[in-house]
Symmetry: C2
Subunit: 346 residues, 2 copies
């Protein structure tokens, strides 16, 4: 076994704290990555607090993992020692169901294995990226470009693919009016991808103060959703709304901003269900859709796209000892736009 | 003005009763139809009871209207006296917005004019088909085949187009597994169209007794949704669910029956909003969509399709004096599958 250290929550009530644990030995198809940076996702906090479902404790969160390969198994083909590599939200899946065969491992019919708060095929709990290393099957490790900032690449593994995938699936691009709801870790990536794909991008936000930042990210328009006149001016105008908000919010308002056949795509997951009037959908053949992260082939495609178009996340690098303060700031939306842990501080 | 008689609700608290009123004179582009049959839609009851929004009273319901042209305006091109003609849910729209120009008058950006419980461009209330005649702009009257039962054609004007339109929009056909939720006026038309379009059709119902009827309508499979084993057997299997239920129901259960990328299409409109978990959508890139009736060109296309494929509604012809008893039976699902009023009984 490989001695590992990280930050773990021992129970849903406890703070994260230093913890030592073991990773499995590097198998024939495995790679061992020394983790250099790990992004801080809102879902880390949801999961250590049991907001969504009863978790597996002790829990080492983190699924925006980047680092360097330090050991490879005898049958590994994709990587060599010294390569940069990333790991996102998944570390395994059944690989035999229709979804897996189509590269949609995130929708594996037999339950994919999450990077943390999950159990591997060996029945052992998985531990995430708030740690110094990870051992993963090479099929679930991703190639990273050495031309991009490695720290700023980390959030692409979750925030990036989560916004890239639905925009690709629904073919959002030139001629489309795309609204991004929520300008946080996911939202700011949604703006960057929407602009890169050629859509006219509008940021919808409750904070007038974010207008300047939204435009700096490339957004063409900005609407303060608490301003009734501004909202009225964009009624029935968007082809797509990418909803990145994971706190409770009223979707019916946003459905009224969609044009006929418009699609409201949820990538955030509030703990409480959405309340949606049938009339909001019927009156314009509208849809509320959901999209979860992305499969491995598409995640690699996204990383390659980012390398080609020089797209990374806007980040604040933090010391792992400041993780709780960072969670508090994240909850207040006080981060531009993703905290990333410098694992050298572990 | 044209003296007319019909059945009206004077207030949301009162029963329907005989009432005399006036229609506008036949204008240059209008046709006058002597109504022979009018279908009874669940939304008639919703509207006379103010379930959805405060209505305009006295209210003459009915928007599944068929009959014979008895008078045409000087500029009418589409019809001549003696022609069969139908009127559905709409009698006017702005005709200038993008939706109207695309033949999506039901989504008119400037508010279409409903056949009843609405106000025309002249500011006067519209009165529906529980009456002996109607005057309508020729653009909102539809040609009917004389090869089909006229009484059984009436429900096509709402129940027919409401199910035909979404199946066409989402290109449901060969190779698709389509589930129909609710086997009533809309549902039984959904079965007929789904089968005609080549899909494998499954009826989802709480009533085991409906299996034989569902198969007689052409459904390939039948699932009793209160039987957990039957439900488990179809988990993750449908490409589309056409949800025709207008009473409160839990959509999350049905979302679990959709395969990846599946779409749950609501055409019924419960008074209360749906409660939908984001996880039900994210875990398989699923959508909940809505679709409202259909535009005039598509309604004519549907009627022509029905004439070609010999499709009509299964109906029970009633005396208008039995309308309240019919509403009670409709609420209990005790109708195979649509009541149609014989207007000769008025």
């Amino acid at each position: 076994m490989i001695a590992s250290k990280g930050y773990a929550a021992q129970t849903p009530q406890s703070d994260l704290a230093a913890w030592t644990f073991e990773r499995r030995e590097v198998g024939a198809h495995d790679v061992q990555i020394n983790i250099q940076f790990c992004g801080v996702c809102h879902s880390d906090l949801h999961q250590i607090k049991n907001d969504w479902f009863p978790g597996i404790f002790p829990m080492v969160p983190g699924h925006e993992i980047v680092g360097t390969i330090v050991k490879i198994g005898s049958d590994v083909k994709k990587f060599k020692n010294g390569d940069l590599a990333g790991v996102g939200c998944l570390v395994d899946s059944c690989r035999t169901c229709d979804n897996c065969k189509e590269g949609l491992e995130q929708y594996c019919s037999n339950h994919s294995v999450g990077t943390y708060n999950s159990k591997g095929k060996d029945g052992l709990p998985t531990y995430g990226g708030y740690s110094n290393n990870i051992v993963v099957h090479e099929d679930f490790a991703l190639h990273l470009s050495d031309k991009l900032s490695l720290a700023a690449t980390a959030p692409l593994l979750c925030a990036g693919i989560t916004t890239y995938s639905p925009l690709r699936f629904w073919k959002v691009g030139k001629g489309h009016k795309l609204a991004i709801l929520g300008l946080g870790g996911l939202g700011h990536m949604g703006v960057k991808f929407g602009v890169a794909f050629g859509a006219e991008v509008t940021v919808l936000s409750t904070s007038p103060s974010k207008e300047k930042e939204a435009k700096a990210l490339g957004a063409h328009n900005f609407v303060v959703t608490s301003d009734l006149a501004q909202v009225a001016a964009v009624k029935g105008s968007f082809d797509f709304i990418l909803d990145t908000v994971s706190a409770k919010h009223d979707i019916n308002l946003y459905l009224s901003l969609l044009r006929t056949n418009g699609i409201h795509i949820c990538v955030g997951a509030p703990s409480e269900p959405h309340s949606i009037s049938a009339f909001s959908l019927l009156g314009g053949r509208k849809s509320v859709a959901g999209s979860g992260i992305g499969g491995l082939p598409e995640t690699q495609e996204m990383l390659d796209f980012c390398a080609k178009h020089n797209i990374v996340s806007d980040i604040e690098l933090i010391n792992i000892k400041d993780i709780h303060q960072s969670y508090e700031r994240m909850l207040k939306g006080d981060v531009r736009y993703r905290f990333v842990i410098d694992m050298a501080t572990l």
